[in-house]
Amino acid sequence: MKKRSILSLACVAGALFIGLMAASQVMSSNVQADRRAMSAANELAAAGHLDQASVIYGQLLDQGVEDASVYYNLGNIAMQQGNPDRALALYEQAAELSPRDRDIRHNMALAREQAGELSGTSARGVLATIAQASRSLLTVNELAMLALGSWFLLGFLVLAYRHFQPDKRPAALRLAGMFATVLVLVSSLALVSRIQA
């Protein structure tokens, strides 16, 4: 391959990377909220003042905080108040924000048991199966970025593939293209089903 072709491919890859970074910037931001409020609410909850603790957690959410730990703690309070259905809903919200957190998974299983739900509720249809599988691995935003990233990868591979003469196209590129295509399809379908849910 000519030097110019390599340079142009590198430029395209750089542009794609910058685009992907720009997209990831969309997700990253934070909120200023008093962390002491959380500690105070935890102390109230530990002292048995569940309603007051609940109010403070609610205020944190009202301030724009949408952290898995707040939903998780609210879920714990709901469990202590003997309301596993509500606890389950709160744990699910927490798991949506932090799907790989083991504490959330553990307490969610307890809440599900208390609420009388089967833990392995069977998913109906391909979309639901993919969505359920992705739910325990990735947040919606992570899934969205995976889908977009694999789409960018596929685009780059197509460009690279077309740079070679037809009789000199490497088989590895073709394989990588097929892998990227499968990744795009699976992640996009999971994303669509998660958004629909």
């Binding site: 794609l16 685009g19 109230l44 048995g48 007051q52 905080v65 730990s69 108040q81 307890l110 958004i195």
Partner: protein, 628 residues
């Protein structure tokens, strides 16, 4: 189209299809609007309550549309928090007091707010307005004596209760006739007689602006009055456009005042509108002219009249402000009460602090809270209510602070100082609450003495299995729309497609460019060959090698490769590779061979002469041009 491209396009189509199948998210509305009555008279005030559920995520303030047939004469905002079975919902309540301007079936249009980036609307609310008697209607609730401020200290923690008290007082203050139009046609005979202004010399309409003080302190209330003098009754309703009041915090007063006067031999009806202004900066401030649109009649077009601008010289506040001064200007008082004189460690008590008075109560900052040893503030809510009494803005700001004792013993909640600047005295004043002592018992004994709630006891067995509460993370995750709800995200999906399409376009352009270069070269070679052939004929050519050279030159130019040095086999394969038919290749080879043979051994060739070869070359060149 190759296989990879097909896969790419199919993927794109599948994705587009999947995205098209996305349903619009159905959510419960986070905004609701209610009215206290749906049938009122022109004497009544309507209370429009817009409740926005802040628990739904990011919610904007409701966007109140143009309310045809109503005039907003007061607004207030409060926050309601409800906790049921641990489920906490927080609602911000906006209340608007509306004065109907005419009778008929009126509609309060849909009110919108942005909830998590999406517009949500309330249902339109129909209201039937009947003609009133000109007297304010008696209220069903306990009446409040006109002219007396409701007991603002009687705040029981419910902002709505405080609002209702203020509302009752306000309705008791509403004069008769407010509901007819914003500007009544003629004053009653009992209207007060006033002196005419100097600028009133017999015009049909005249507008005068005035302030009660031109040299106020920063933050001090200034009463801005706009008087409309009318010698005739207009055909329609007069529209008032208030000035922008830049540099002021303003509050329109609900009452209109009516007077009579005489100037230039004509009797005038005078209507006065008032606005309370609070300068927010020191220095010279100018209030722009107030404007009123006078409707036309059958014989004349409508016209606009304007008052004169009013200039104020606002004095800065003195520099010796106490530490507890937070911007209050007027006259204020402060009270504090604690809901319990006894508590235990880890439990909470609620302290209610109320600042009440006349002045800029809506813009004043919170008091400076003193350090309270042994106490920790776990929650604080603020509620502000204000109204107008005798042309003065009065109100109350209430703070409900939830405090937790952290040690046993008699703990003191210190006195709270509140300083304000009194413009009449020209100095700062300080008011102070009483300190309070709360007897705090140790938690363990108290907790043992108290039975645990049933639900908590029932859930206690679960506690060992539950993973513990989590501490606050190093950085909070923010409540915002998922990335998939942001247009930029979906626009980025187009980038790879655009790059691939762009690359294809560039290649097509490049191919076209190369092809046109070859065509140009071919045309030029044809012309040169034609010229060479013509020149050879003119010079009675004897050398048979010339036709061969002409043919070589033509081929060299067309193929962009020298052909003279090639062997017969190399030339054949080159011509075939460039798409020439075998027949034509054979003809070319024959001409070249004959030209070479006759050039070196003219007698032995026995073939055609140079002229014949020229003729053959002449025939070959168009054929080559067609196939190359």
């Amino acid at each position: 189209m190759n296989k990879t491209m097909r896969i790419f396009i199919i993927s794109a189509m599948l994705l587009l299809g999947a995205l098209a199948a996305l349903p619009a998210g159905a959510q419960e509305s986070a905004i609701t609007a209610t009215i206290n009555r749906n049938q009122i008279t022109t004497d009544d005030l309507l209370l429009l309550t817009v409740s926005v559920d802040s628990s739904s995520g990011s919610v904007s303030q409701p966007d109140l549309p143009q309310l045809d047939g109503f005039r907003i004469i007061g607004t207030s905002t409060s926050t309601q928090m409800t906790t049921i079975n641990g489920d906490t919902s927080v609602a911000t309540v906006y209340q608007y007091r509306l004065q109907p301007l005419h009778t008929g079936d009126l509609v309060i249009p849909a009110i919108t707010a942005t909830v998590n980036g999406q517009q949500e609307s309330t249902q339109p609310l129909p209201v039937t307005v009947y003609q009133g008697t000109g007297q304010a209607q008696p209220q069903q609730a306990a009446p409040v004596a006109p002219g007396s401020l409701p007991n603002l200290f009687n705040f029981n923690g419910d902002p709505m209760d405080l609002l209702n008290q203020l509302d009752q007082w306000m309705q008791s203050q509403t004069p008769g006739g407010l509901g007819a139009t914003s500007i009544p046609l003629m004053p009653g005979s009992d209207a007060t007689e006033i002196d005419p202004p100097a600028g009133l010399t017999g015009q049909d309409f005249y507008l005068e602006a005035a302030v009660d003080k031109t040299n106020p302190y920063q933050g001090e209330q200034v009463l801005y009055s706009l008087r409309l003098y009318r010698a005739v009754s207009p055909m329609g309703q007069i529209t008032y456009n208030a000035p922008a009041f830049s540099g002021f915090w303003s509050k329109e007063l609900p009452d209109q005042h009516h007077y009579r006067t005489e100037a230039g031999g004509r009797p005038y009806s005078v209507t006065e509108l008032q606005t309370a202004l609070f300068p927010t900066v020191a220095g010279e401030l100018t209030i722009e002219p107030g404007r009123m649109m006078i409707p036309g009649d059958f014989f004349s077009a409508g016209s606009e009249i304007a008052s004169q601008p009013v200039t104020l010289d606002v004095k800065p506040l003195p520099a010796n402000a106490p530490a507890s001064f937070t911007g209050a200007v007027g006259t204020f008082d402060i009270t504090s009460e604690v809901d319990s004189a006894e508590s235990k460690v880890g439990d909470t008590v609620t302290q209610k602090v109320t600042v009440v008075g006349q002045g800029n109560v809506e813009t004043v900052d919170d008091p400076v809270w003193p350090d309270a040893a042994g106490w920790r503030v776990v929650d604080s809510q603020t509620n502000t209510q204000s109204d107008v009494r005798d042309g003065q803005v009065v109100g109350a700001r209430s703070y409900q602070r939830v405090l937790m004792p952290t040690a046993a013993g008699d703990l003191t909640l210190p006195a709270i100082e509140f300083s304000y600047f009194d413009p009449s005295a020209g100095d700062y004043q300080t008011v102070t609450t009483e300190s309070a002592v709360v007897a705090v018992s140790a938690d363990a004994a108290a907790a043992a003495a108290q039975p645990a709630p049933l639900a908590a006891a029932a859930a206690a067995s679960l506690q060992p299995e539950l993973r513990p509460l989590k501490e606050a993370p190093a950085s909070w995750a923010v409540a915002e729309d998922p990335v998939t709800q942001q247009p930029m995200y979906w626009l980025l999906w187009g980038v790879p497609v655009a790059l691939v399409v762009g690359q294809r376009g560039w290649q097509a352009y490049r191919n076209g460019h190369v092809s046109s270069d070859a065509e140009k070269r071919k045309r030029q070679a044809g012309k040169q060959a034609e010229k060479a052939l013509h020149s050879a004929r003119q010079s009675s050519l004897q050398d048979a090698r010339v036709p061969g050279r002409i043919l070589h030159d033509y081929l060299t130019a067309c193929l962009d490769t020298p052909t003279a040095g090639l062997t017969e086999a190399q030339l054949t394969s080159l011509l075939l590779a460039r798409g020439l038919s075998p027949m034509l290749v054979v003809s070319v080879q024959e001409v070249l061979m004959a030209s070479e043979l006759q050039g070196y051994a003219p007698q032995s060739s026995g073939g055609s002469g140079a002229a014949d070869l020229l003729g053959q070359v002449e025939t070959l060149i168009p054929a080559l041009a067609a196939e190359l």
